[in-house]
Symmetry: C2
Amino acid sequence: MNKLLVVGTVAFDAIETPFGKTDKILGGAATYISLSASQFGVNSGIVSVVGGDFPKEYLEKLNAKNINTDGIEIIEDGKTFFWKGKYHNDLNTRDTLITDLNVLANFNPVVPEEFKNTDFLMLGNLHPAVQMAVIKQIPVRPKLVVLDTMNFWMDNTLDELMEVIAKIDVITINDEEARQLSGEYSLVRAAQKIHKMGPKFVVIKKGEHGALLFNNGNVFFAPALPLEEVFDPTGAGDTFAGGFIGHIAKSGDISFENMKRAVISGSNLASFCVEKFGTERMENLSKEEIEKRLLQFKLLTQFDIELS
Amino acid sequence: MNKLLVVGTVAFDAIETPFGKTDKILGGAATYISLSASQFGVNSGIVSVVGGDFPKEYLEKLNAKNINTDGIEIIEDGKTFFWKGKYHNDLNTRDTLITDLNVLANFNPVVPEEFKNTDFLMLGNLHPAVQMAVIKQIPVRPKLVVLDTMNFWMDNTLDELMEVIAKIDVITINDEEARQLSGEYSLVRAAQKIHKMGPKFVVIKKGEHGALLFNNGNVFFAPALPLEEVFDPTGAGDTFAGGFIGHIAKSGDISFENMKRAVISGSNLASFCVEKFGTERMENLSKEEIEKRLLQFKLLTQFDIELS
């Protein structure tokens, strides 16, 4: 069974959407990524940090999904990272109301001994210095290193981010971030420029408009499933990334053909994530539901036009 | 050979994009639709109106593509409809600088005798009263009637528009217009509501984000081809519609399966349209180029994920 190490935030989120609001609930990039990847039955572990206020039940929830939490440091006299946000009516935009870094402010990641030989490494959205610290703790290069990041790090820590980008295989960012990072409006040209920064594979996430996978002149597009109702978009991007790396880690196949399936798997899982608040839907998701919706992706995109 | 009647504007456009600007060039919805549909070798004709200022060469250009222009009324002492627009840097939004209706203001469409038994009818974006006048001149209902319209008519002539919508089979509108017409944000729900207004098929155009086809609970998605450079988006939506109806008119097949191919054909042709100013690219487009790009659409979207 392939090992997958996930680095990222484990957090409290408080979410408000047009459909309701939550108190502090389980959130964080590593949480969503791991829950999504856990659908593929890989041997996964998280590297993160939480405070003494983080409920043991949350860790047990993750353990119940076969996610190793030994790498989640607990700082007993500290507080867990907290994010509060409010979505606008279109659910495509949101205001961040609170970002309390708390224990994340001084996070020194430590990779557990058992994951130092991880086959796959997923660097969730975090300070690039933390991402780099994890890369340096892994002596044998993993088969594939995937990086997620965001505009905040491009604005504030670009040099450090570029050093990380030079070391990874796959970058996942959204369309605006791809444009910012490359200085190109066309996503085709943006991907070309980002390839030159290091990543052989560039995944551009477009939210409700799907995702593009670029590799060496090849391009593949996975749509988002058109849904009757989007309840809470929180974690959809991380769930996409988790489905992507989970699919690859399960198969061990890092070919472009298999990455196509991986972006479809990621889109599929993200389509569930948004149906309920927070991680609720991802915690209660059956193999049958996933397969049924994969069939919908096939029906949505497959056609048999003949070329003469 | 199936007959296709296209109703819509034949116009002068003056276009400004970040890459350059044009004087008055050939434009109009019926022009783009017909040029696009002409790729499929159907027997097509236009119903429209122009002024005495409209160059004979433009009509000859259309005739050279086997497009019948007998239904284009020429009002010798009138002036042709003129539109001037300027695109913003992202090419997704534009300002309309001039709209001179001219001869279009009093347009009474007359369907030529030879097209009164048309197999397919494409109602391009126009005043709904004009669209209805054409429907009423065709005694035997065509196999398929496709309607394109826009928010302007929803704002200003909604009752007349709803009467037309009740009589047609396929509506093509953009995502914002679908939301406006239905009062639903979710495009799935918007399509459900629009079905109830009459059209069995709802095509929602999302520009660079592709197009969705809805029919009776089924949904299909055609992406836009990711392009290195978009030069001028003018006419892309009409070119899409022309490719859609052209494909269907050639095959005579109005099944959902064939409409999938039709939206792919429409997206394919639209991807050429935007590569040059105005109609230039559509006037010089080979079968080989079209087929080659269809293969790109296959590579872009087809995957072989296995369901257990």
